[in-house]
């Protein structure tokens, strides 16, 4: 049963990811990305991490993707033609994009990883919250600082060009 669900989710994920990368219109890429995120959240759920799955939905799908959609709507005319997809562009991308993960997979297949779960049930929200505020207090604060900096930076970058007429 779980294998079946995982299979469906994998198909969903990779279909979405492929759409996100291969399709020529950015909007379609985004939809594909959203689809693959749903699949990914499902995979996290299969792994037993409800919280991470929900965060993937809430932040990646509800936050980042929506923001990307917003950016695309603000910046890309619908008729914009995507760059030509010539062999000299696809080939190196394919080479590196396949080569590097091939190396990784070869390495990890050669390695000896545990094959059975250590824990059936991953800890939930409460334990994660406690860990965030005790063991990982410092990185947690650092992340919040990073987010603050990112927000300020984003505002600053977006605002500066607003004052300038077409350059």
């Amino acid at each position: 049963m779980l294998d079946l669900a995982l299979g469906i989710l994998i198909v969903l994920t990779f279909a979405g990811a492929t759409m996100a990368v291969v399709l020529k219109k950015v909007f379609h890429n985004l939809l594909g990305f959203g689809l693959s995120l749903v699949g990914l959240a499902g995979i996290s759920l299969v792994l037993g991490s409800e919280f991470v799955a929900l965060m993937q939905l809430l932040i990646f799908l509800g936050g980042i993707t929506v923001a990307m959609v917003f950016a695309v709507m603000m910046s890309t005319p619908r008729e914009q033609s995507e760059e030509p997809r010539t062999a000299d562009r696809v080939a190196p991308a394919l080479l590196v994009g396949a080569g590097f993960p091939a190396v990784m997979i070869a390495l990890l297949l050669g390695g000896s990883f545990p094959t059975s779960p250590v824990t059936e049930e991953l800890f939930g929200v409460r334990e994660i919250g406690l860990a965030l505020l005790t063991t990982f207090e410092l990185p947690f604060e650092a992340i919040s600082l990073l987010l603050l900096a990112a927000i300020i930076g984003a505002v600053a970058v977006a605002r500066r060009t607003r004052e300038r007429p077409d350059g």
């Binding site: 939809l31 409800e50 929900l54 809430l58 509800g62 936050g63 929506v66 959609v69 619908r78």
Partner: protein
Amino acid sequence: MSGLIDSVQGVLGGWLTELVIGFVLLAVLITLNAMFMVWFERKVAGWVQGRHGPLHHGPFGLAQTALDVVKLLGKEFIIPSKVDRPVFLLAPIIAFLPALAILSLIPYSADMTLTDAQSGLLIVFAFGGLSLGGIFMGGWSSNNKYALLGAIRAVSQNIAYELPLLLSAMAIVLMSGTLNLTEIVDAQAGYRWNVFFQPLAMLIFLISAAAETNRAPFDIPEAESELVAGFHTEYPAMGFAVFFLAEYTYMFAVCAIGAVLFLGGAAGPLLPGPVWLLLKVYFLLFLMVMARWTYPRLRFDQLMNLAWKYLIPLALGNLMLTAFVLKLVQT
């Protein structure tokens, strides 16, 4: 009836049967709710404006909406030539599905929940964010500038109001110490409804909810006087109907969550749980309808100011105050 259920159970196995039956029931609920709401809204509007509203078909014009649905079903489904077809067709469904998912999480009574998830509230918000997908897909794929403008407005509005919505709900999470909706209801047992302790949170929640569902006075994504009909301008017949369905379903879902969070969910004397829940939901829906016909539409900058300058700081302050008081009470 039970024989039917048994035979279905024989085919599908226990929890899947429950699921299927639950979704069938939900579908019925959604349809009835949408039809009722259209009528209800028109009636309230008539009452507010000193006129009658629908009258002619059925008692109090109750059959009016059903006839409208039949009419919409009979209309030709025109797809404009330059639209982004797959996206265009997918958009209404995407808009509708998350609302359905949310409804499946609501505890209709103490033991009547389709999925009793541990992080139920989080799932609600996660899916709540998804409902936006239908809107921007529709607005984008229509190849129409009004539709696109409506979509852009919807996106920025949703991003802005998601925060106060979450923050006000978090105050309740703090009070009950759980994300499970059933447990949140249990925490309010004995009529210790959260609305008495968190009136500000409820106010913020309702305002944000109205904005999230693009209801007036926050309906600028579909402001007809500016954008024709906003993101669903190009949608014909049933496409349009599904968007409407989705909007009313989403309203129902949000009000149900509101009732669960603030009004003690399905708890109430005498009457069975689901009835109480429905009463509370329709009370909240009544408030939203009243707001729609009472207040003028906000301008875009006013809308943004309200969220970023008032609601978010207020919700944050409320959250911090709650945490502080809770700590005091606990120690």
